[in-house]
Symmetry: C2
Subunit: 422 residues, 2 copies
């Protein structure tokens, strides 16, 4: 099946907003095994929209149109869809009632301009939007089935999952169920993951597709599993996902919608533990990943950051003579334990970074030193990361949070990653 995605709107066409809706749609279709062949962007312009719809109606089997379903005069999708299909616009009483109710629940009267959102091309199939007033719809134009979706990303995402993808898969004659399984790892590059996971798709004899998406410092490994039904998918997925977990090993930090920082908070909550953070070079960014998460109110005690060992020493009230005078492993261990004690926490996480002299150059880098204190001991980690300062900082934050995860999950903290030199 040949799919085209048409993104509409002057804000997208003029670059006022980055078109992340296109990659959202394209990626999700790729995940379920459908291929987008063309991406087209046009503004809020009748002539250009009609031309784009008509051309797509000639060359594609299915078309997803995004945007232009709002209540204002520059929202033209229904009007031009009707024109391209050669039908007129009719009021959808069902959707009008839904909108009226939507506003009533918010104790507001529906503005008259919103009535426009219930005018659909005759013969359209409504695509439900349970979280907004823009009504999605499907319609034939030329030889192609068109799916019209809202521009608001969360409304688009939901309509795509619940309404569009099932219809596309049915049209493509694909097996009943498709499932996307994701693993988030830290410390393995895409090339090595590809080697490590060679052949993993074939251990159940087909129906599983492996893919990657790198976003430094993490790597996402994706398994797309097709099956007759939910049970068939689970039967195929079980051995493959077990094998992926085995091969990527301790580098898997989270799965599916989990995040590394979310896993850390969950582990702390589960252990009824609590956390204090001290950070040098990363100036609050490690704490900034943790402190606001749901559950953090139970476990996050406090964080301290400072540019120099003296400031960190003084901020933590370290009075021992000779302690924390440099960026050494001993200093970072001392800081982790001091932070833990002063905050009355079970865990202390400290990080110091010693930058190479010579400035911000990609062939230089820094030495990252991390300590996790638990009251029963202090685990330390030292690593060289090469790259510009922002790159080193990103890598250091990830390594710090991952070291804490490893301590909480009783895994070794010093497995070498692909991003460090030794």
């Amino acid at each position: 099946m040949r799919v085209e995605v048409i993104c509409t709107g002057d804000e997208v066409l003029t670059g006022k907003i980055v078109n992340s809706n296109f990659s959202l749609v394209s990626q999700r279709l790729e995940d379920v095994g459908l291929q987008v062949l063309w991406g087209t962007t046009v503004g809020d312009d009748r002539e250009q929209l009609l031309d784009a719809f008509q051309r797509a109606g000639r060359r594609a089997d299915a078309v997803i149109v995004n945007g232009g379903l709002g209540p204002t005069v520059d929202d033209l999708s229904q009007e031009i869809a009707a024109k391209a299909a050669g039908v007129d616009l009719v009021l959808d009483e069902g959707w009008l009632a839904r909108m009226t109710e939507f506003f009533e629940r918010r104790q507001r009267a529906m503005p008259p301009s919103n009535r426009k959102q219930a005018m659909l091309p005759r013969g359209s199939e409504v695509l439900d939007n349970p979280i907004g007033t823009a009504c999605g719809f499907a319609l034939d134009v030329g030889r192609s089935r068109f799916f019209f979706t809202p521009g608001v990303p969360r409304e688009l995402r939901r309509m795509l999952e619940e309404q569009v993808i099932p219809r596309l898969l049915a049209r493509a004659g694909s097996p009943g169920t498709i499932h996307l399984k994701r693993f988030h790892s830290y410390g393995i590059g895409e090339a090595r993951a590809d080697t490590l996971l060679a052949g993993v798709e074939t251990i159940v004899g087909g129906g599983v597709k492996l893919g990657f998406r790198a976003h430094y410092p993490q790597l996402e490994t994706k398994l797309v599993v097709r099956g007759r039904d939910r049970e068939d998918v689970e039967r195929k997925l079980a051995p493959v996902q077990a094998e992926v977990r085995r091969r990527l090993g301790n580098f898997v930090v989270a799965e599916d919608d989990q995040t590394l920082e979310g896993v850390v908070v969950d582990e702390l909550v589960r252990a009824e533990a609590s956390l204090a953070i001290v950070e040098g070079f990363t100036g609050g960014q490690m704490a900034g990943r943790i402190a606001h998460l749901p559950g953090a109110e139970k476990v996050f005690r406090r964080s301290v950051s400072g540019r120099t060992p003296e400031q960190l020493r003084s901020a933590l009230g370290v009075t021992e003579p000779g302690a924390v005078t440099d960026l050494s492993l001993v200093s970072v261990a001392f800081l982790a334990e001091a932070a833990r004690r002063r905050a009355g926490a079970t865990h202390g996480l400290a990080m110091l970074v010693e930058l190479d002299e010579g400035g911000d150059r990609i062939d230089l880098g820094g030495t990252v030193r991390i300590a996790v204190a638990t009251g029963k001991g202090i685990a330390t980690r030292e690593a060289r990361i090469l790259g510009g300062r922002d790159w080193v900082r990103l890598g250091a934050i990830e390594m710090g949070l991952d070291s804490l995860r490893r301590v909480l999950q009783k895994l070794p903290v010093d497995e070498k990653t692909d991003f460090e030199k030794r």
Copy 2:
């Protein structure tokens, strides 16, 4: 002039990477008064590329093609460009020499596969790429002038500014010079800015275009000025930019490439001042904006974050009975001064946020309380921000940094913004 932008590459088409190059190109062209009418995305596929080039060659006056200039087999731009123009590929000796030298400077031998990057369609005009091996080029296809650009964003950006835009403007018959002036403000919504600045373009009698780009919590106000030459542009710009500064007033936090946090660090450096930060709800994210900036090593002393008043009190070593027991203005003032003193800093910035009870709902919000202590006094600020928790957090961080800027620039800290309820 009707411009089309064609983005090529499987990684873009499948959504593996978000296509920010498109918005970069589109926005810069808009800035200089050129209009992009079509955006097209195609994969690394000979048939689709040829079709896209030919169609663009029929409908557009100028086409910018991005990507596909690399050394690997799936980089097809030169090959398909030659086919679309009906010419053959010839080796550009000049570019081959440039590439050889590029590798020599890095003490590496040029891989044979890179030779492909110097094969250009016969009759092409070379577009210089001083920072990479991908050679840009311009060529006529159909009725249109095509400009081929590299996919690496920084190479694209430079080639666009130095090579493509001047040629486009010359073709469009535009006056010699165009200048983009930008103002970054915090606290004014786009609708109000539009009203405040009504008529500002016309005070020099033409040649100036006003535009906005909102990215909460900041708003960017843009002036595009056209003139015969640099001098003419400056003559037109001077009164208009003075008027924009006057009308937006104290809400302008930075101009052009400056940032709010960069301005804060610059002001602190200029005043030979130093800074300590205490933050509640924002858990290190305010410090995270400041601590890593160039210059911060001179002025940033330390930061502390914590979830509760008790933790902040204890982290700062506050011993006064009754101090910092809640999220009140008195507590935040006390914290700012305590942080300042303990860090030996000239300035202390503190922020506490009291969230509405009832959970994370967009019709709820929080009360933000900010204090800036200077040793000579303590300025405080209280504001209600409505919205989900992430929205409140973003707004609070901006308001905290802006309050510090206002104190450093001797401006009132309590001017009401468009984002708060009172």
